[in-house]
């Protein structure tokens, strides 16, 4: 496919890198000299220097009426540029256009994207805010991603030393916990990841990625971590930017009695936020001020969300917060390399809006007609795809066992007439079933083929 990526920052770079490695013809448009040079030196793509909202620049990148460009991805920091680039591309006959939206207004209602003629519009801040909420709610989950419009999700739990699961084989789980709708789709053990099989036994220290319904997620932590979940009482947010505000706003709406405190060092910003939020206590101060943190009860905090502009600050604040007694700390980072730091620093979870966006774009570019939303957890080399089984699929009327799926492909959940359940080998697939498939990245195209989608 021919793909034009407008913007060569963190998101654009990683999207262009992956797509070019997958064998697509990629052209990157970037205005900043240094970023353009970096892309040009390190990736097998063509670089066009210039503002992606200008027709002439896009023309140089191959966007001319009647061109054969398949996808345009606009992921600069500026909504104006993204929207205009998409509009110009759409008029030139580019089949699909994807845009990043920084301003949350654009993704508040789906009509904006439709009116602007943009196929997919995504605000990573929104999905990341949702992820942070999930991480706060299911306190011992290390990672999470939502599935089926939030009705279920994928949660990663660490197996505690004293967990009753230690030594249990996966195939015995169903009989041990018959009332759980949950399936382990991936296990990370000593830095290596496995797509599990029935005879595999759970060990202490394993990081298990579990697909389960949202209502049951918090019950999971009782058996994995052997401690009672307790309801959220106090959350402290440092940084009143877009993301910090979004998290506070969502928390206000979802938890009636939650004590929310937001700290930012900019007085004007604090005043604005205080005007817009209802119950949140907005504090003007330094996130590294120990007295302030203690005064505001960091020891009692169930969650500390560090969402300032700076990655490094967020990581350090999380460590400080943890040392001062916060139960769970979450750091927001934008650089990919920092995602691995949770193994080395005492921070519970690291979330990254940029990789969240990059993965949304990539999934869409890869499986354009794949029905449903794709979800991925950046840390592992596996993907999850929601597909609806079409009428003409060869899989209709057959049991999952008889499909002969290769190792590395897992049918995790089935939604049939609104009911969510974990399939067994003898489950017969029906047309219209919404299926969640989990597979390693290289096997996903094959999995899609087995299910007769596309």
């Amino acid at each position: 496919m021919k793909i034009v990526v407008v913007g060569g920052g963190e998101v654009g770079y990683s999207v262009a890198e992956t797509l070019s490695e997958e064998g697509h013809d990629v052209t990157v448009v970037e205005e900043d000299e240094e970023r353009a040079a970096r892309v040009d030196n390190e990736l097998d793509v063509i670089t066009v220097k210039g503002n992606g909202a200008r027709p002439q620049v896009l023309e140089e990148a191959g966007i001319v009426p009647g061109c054969d460009v398949d996808i345009l991805v606009a992921c600069t920091d500026h909504d104006e540029v993204n929207i205009l680039a998409c509009w110009i591309a759409k008029r030139a006959g580019v089949k699909r256009v994807i845009s990043r939206a920084r301003g949350l207004e654009f993704t508040d209602s789906p009509t904006w994207a439709k009116d602007l003629g943009i196929d997919v519009m995504n605000s990573p801040e929104r999905s990341v805010a949702r992820e942070i909420l999930e991480l706060l709610f299911v306190n011992s989950a290390v990672h999470t991603a939502e599935l089926l419009d939030g009705r279920s999700g994928i949660y990663a739990f660490r197996v505690a030393q004293n967990s009753s699961l230690v030594g249990v084989a996966l195939k015995e789980l169903r009989t041990l916990y018959p009332h759980f709708i949950a399936i382990i789709v991936y296990i990370e053990r000593n830095g290596t990841g496995y797509i599990p099989y029935g005879d595999m036994r759970i060990e202490a220290g394993d990081l298990c990625y579990i697909v389960t319904s949202r209502e049951q997620a918090w019950k999971m932590e009782e058996i994995y971590q052997m401690k009672k979940s307790r309801p959220l009482k106090r959350v402290i947010i440092i940084g009143g930017g877009k993301l910090g505000f979004q998290v506070a706003w969502k928390l206000e709406n979802q938890f009636r009695n939650l004590d929310i405190r937001l700290i930012d060092h900019n007085r004007e910003k604090c005043e604005r936020i205080a005007a817009e939020l209802k119950r949140t206590l907005v504090l003007c101060g330094d996130g590294a001020d120990e007295n302030l943190l203690r005064q505001e009860g960091i020891e009692e905090a169930d969650g500390l969300v560090c969402a300032t502009e700076s990655d490094e600050t967020n990581l350090l604040f999380s460590v400080i917060g943890k040392a001062l007694g916060a139960r769970k700390t979450i750091a927001v980072v934008r650089r990919k390399i920092y995602m691995k730091l949770d193994n080395y620093m005492s921070v519970d979870s690291i979330v990254n809006p940029n990789s969240a966006l990059a993965s949304v774009i990539l999934r869409y570019a890869r499986y354009p007609t794949g029905s449903g939303v794709l979800s991925i957890i950046e840390k592992i080399d596996a993907e999850m795809l929601e597909v609806a089984i079409p009428e003409r699929s060869p899989a209709v009327g057959r049991t999952i066992m008889s499909l002969g799926l290769p190792k590395g492909i897992l049918v995790a959940l089935i939604v049939r007439r609104g009911e969510v359940f974990v399939p067994v080998g003898a489950t017969v697939l029906q047309a219209g079933d919404k299926v969640i498939v989990f597979a390693t990245s290289d096997l996903m195209p094959e999995a899609v083929e087995y299910l007769g989608v596309n």
């Binding site: 021919k2 070019s20 490695e21 013809d25 000299e33 990736l43 097998d44 793509v45 063509i46």
Partner: protein, 483 residues
Amino acid sequence: MHFRLVAKVLSLLSGIVSLSMIWPLAWSLYDGSGDVKPFLFSIMMGGVLSGGLYLVGRKADYEDLGVKDGFVVVSLSWIIASVVGALPYYLHGAVPTFADAFFEAMSGFTTTGASVISDIEANPRGILFWRDLTHWLGGMGIIVLSLAILPFIGVGGMQLYKAEVPGPIPEKMTPRIQQTALYLWGVYVLLSGAETLLLMFGGMNLFEALTHTFGTMATGGFSPLNKSVGQYNSAYFDWVITLFMFLAGANFALHYRFIMGRFSAFHRDEEFRFYTGVVLFCTVTVAGVLLLHGTYDTVADALRFGAFQVVSIITTTGYVTADYELWPSYTQFLLLLLMFVGACAGSTGGGIKNLRLMVLARHVKAELSSILHPRAIVQVKVGGKVAGKDIIASVTSFFILYMALFTAGTLFMAALGLDILTSLSSVAATLGNIGPGLGGVGPMRNYADIPQTGKWVLSLLMLMGRLELYTVVVLFVPETWRR
């Protein structure tokens, strides 16, 4: 430095070079001449070398190819190609020593066309075909060839491409490096086919048409005839070869665009216009001086010989149709200057390249205007695009390095006891990948009489010229060899 990875790529390259000896071998088998055994033996030795290197590097991953590795791989590839390529000459006895054989092979791959063989026609056709085939392989680049035919080199290939393709800013015609390499070779083969047909149409046999085409399209200059193209004394051949030398000296990205239907590509390219201007200006003045001086009687002859020599030198081919040492000194000096100018970026030719000279000239102009208008912001533009500070810096330092190498080389040759004209022109002609120079290495003579040490040094200069200095010079920086 990833030594195993370097070994793996070198194994590939030496394999390709050895395998390409099958073509000259076919000629010798067809003729039943005495060079069958040398070729068979060379292919075997090349194969053993390739196999050995493969054993060392088989576990390496191409994706690890870094910037440093790129330079090292490309430079070493060319050296290994020349070592393997020298075997047939040496084993057949076409040249007396291995230094001579290496010089001949390096001259072939770098498309220099400087020869140490005095009686060329005494050699069997296999050897002669090999000389020109090395030109053809080296012209578009052995690395670019392997990128085109070996898809698995992938992302790391870009480092190699940048290190081999001439010009200050290597151009990619398509997003994928492999495709670009494939198109470049496609255009190259297409133009070569056209020239071969035109030459055969004029009466050359297949062998001579092919060898001369290889020599022309690669801007090499080896001819299977003792007196080069001049031996035919045919206006038709002269003009056909002049035309194709001129085309080979232009940026191949332009040829590609032209073939793809963008007919304005040549006209719109500033470097091509400059190159055409220089060629026209030099041809007209040289022809005028030749007429005035009475070297030739008719305008047609003066233009034919003048144009051939001007194009042959500026494109760094080095074919000769006339003994220009008998020409007036103005024309001789002009030709010497053209040796420095060289062809266009992205062509098969050598020299400093028109694009760099344009950047330098405009930089000087910009400096001038900022002296007159101290507060003026002046941007150097080439081809409608701003040549930024980093490009100007790299072009300037390229120019300085080129001149420094030229000076040092000349000094060295003079120290070996050669006269000034020979020292000077032999260095200019090898560093610029031209071939024939003036004096002791003039158009009617060759490099056989240069001392052994001189031949090694000139071989190195040819390599530096072909790979545009930095790729080779970094090998002498200790930093390159550290892990």
